[in-house]
């Protein structure tokens, strides 16, 4: 019962097709919003929110491998750096590296499921937060390691939720909006 309904909601229908503009830009827009909006939600006195831009970035790559090019970390990381508070360029570096890592894992793993994707994401998230702290400390702040423990826990646990949101956005992305002539 689920199959036909799903194909009716997304994918081509008679006389209708997804708009290529929406299909191409929505991942980029959603990642940029995820970089930007969490800062507005609260004036935090400790790192409490996960690096949502990064979570969206890897979630899109896991859901639709190859949709974002490997160099997508450069422009998207630049945008994240404008608002993240990290030393400028740290997201460009770490996002580009994680895109390469994800691509390599993607082509090597013969099969995937929820657990393996989550485990890969956990590895990337923990590495990202720890390396971000390392870059901040090289730039002069002497923040101790225990400061990021709550953030790591929150990020790891919220990743499946981010995956759910990205999947919902993906359905919107492929909604047949355009009327074919």
């Amino acid at each position: 019962m689920m199959g036909p309904r799903r194909s009716a909601a997304t994918g081509p229908r008679i006389n209708r097709a997804p708009s290529p503009l929406v299909a191409l830009t929505l991942p980029w827009i959603s990642i940029m919003l995820a970089s930007l909006v969490p800062g507005w939600l609260m004036i935090a006195s400790a790192p409490v929110l996960p690096p949502l831009g990064f979570l969206f970035f890897i979630s899109w790559q896991q859901l639709r491998p190859g949709l974002l090019p490997i160099w997508a970390g450069l422009p998207l990381g630049l945008f994240d750096d404008l608002f993240s508070g990290q030393p400028f360029g740290s997201a460009v570096l770490l996002w580009s590296l994680s895109a390469i890592v994800l691509e390599v894992i993607e082509t090597r793993l013969p099969w995937r499921n929820f657990v393996t994707e989550w485990l890969v994401a956990i590895g990337l998230i923990v590495a990202y937060i720890v390396l971000s702290l390392g870059l901040v400390n090289i730039a002069g702040a002497a923040a101790p390691l225990h400061v990021i423990v709550p953030q790591i826990v929150i990020s790891v646990l919220s990743y499946p939720l981010v995956g759910l949101i990205v999947a919902k956005i993906d359905r919107i992305r492929l909604t047949p909006l355009m009327v074919l002539k």
Partner: protein, 295 residues
């Protein structure tokens, strides 16, 4: 779920080259990122113009969410207040009675202070706030503690100005944009504020811990005179922060100082005041006879 088969390059030379080139492009991204990091570590202000412009562009949306944030907090407080009304009312009446007595005492002290200052020939410097503004966003996902203020060069702000709320010190301005500015909160690990104990002036430094608390380091080592519940205020030594601004309350005593909680939690502050950079009076010029001694 199997990965899509069409991503295999197979024997196609063209597909192999395009895969190879996309990896190269990714590696170039990483190299560019490394270069930017090195530049920003060598010169932290290198990209402040870019960041300022980005904050200026997104300011209207940030302002709107800041207003929404305040409303939602008020609603929660209203509901909580409904359940605590009776006990709260009794406590406030008791505190008001105490406060009235304290107010009379404060009047007397102020008069005495004025008289003593006249004796010493001191004039009170201008204490007016330059502007009132709102904290619109913060770096909630990073280890650094920055916030964005919705006032910049348009309100006459400059680098280094201290920011405070009604409850106490919040931070100081780090970078100024056209209509926004970037604030270094006192909980950041790079923020160092000279403080003293409000009661007797034991001098110390307050440094951010990065996790929302402050680390108070005594200047004078030896027996630690601090006690739990002591309030630290800014001492103004070295300039920048006006002396006497309340800052933190001690929660835990350690060997060479204490761990303190910030009095003015930035997540609760709605509007903040921007003050002038405080400059202590220059020391009186040396007497001429002391110069002759030096020769």
């Amino acid at each position: 779920m199997a990965p899509p088969a069409n991503r295999r390059s197979g024997f196609s030379r063209r597909a192999q080259y395009s895969t190879f080139l996309s990896y190269i492009a990714g590696a170039i991204g990483a190299v560019v990122g490394l270069g930017l990091v090195v530049i920003s570590i060598a010169n932290p202000g290198a990209f402040s113009g870019l960041r300022g412009a980005a904050a200026d562009v997104t300011e209207p949306a940030a302002k709107a969410t800041a207003a929404g944030r305040t409303v939602s907090k008020t609603v929660v407080n209203d509901i909580a207040g409904f359940f605590k009304f009776g006990s709260e009312h009794a406590r406030l009446e008791r505190e008001l009675a105490e406060a009235k007595v304290r107010l009379v005492e404060a009047d007397a002290i102020r008069a005495e202070n004025k008289r003593l200052k006249q004796l010493l020939d001191l004039t009170r410097s201008d204490e007016g706030a330059i502007a009132t503004a709102r904290l619109t966003s913060s770096t909630s996902g990073s280890t650094r503690r920055y916030a964005t203020l919705d006032a910049g060069r348009d309100k006459g702000l400059t680098k280094g100005m201290p920011i405070r709320s009604k409850l106490g010190l919040v931070g100081r301005i780090l970078e100024v944009g056209a209509s926004t500015s970037r604030v270094l909160l006192i909980t950041d690990t790079e923020s160092l504020v000279p403080v003293r104990r409000s009661t007797d002036g034991v001098p110390a430094f307050a440094q951010g811990n990065g996790d929302g608390t402050l680390r108070i380091r005594l200047i004078n080592l030896g027996i630690n005179p601090l006690k739990k519940g002591d309030v630290m205020v800014t001492s103004g030594s070295g300039g920048l922060y006006r002396p006497g601004t309340p800052m933190a309350i001690l929660t835990e005593i350690v060997r060479d100082g204490a761990v303190a909680r910030v009095l003015s939690n930035p997540s609760d502050t709605d509007y903040v005041m921007i003050e002038k950079v405080w400059t202590p009076k220059p020391p009186p010029p040396a007497h001429e006879n002391s110069e002759t001694f030096a020769e």
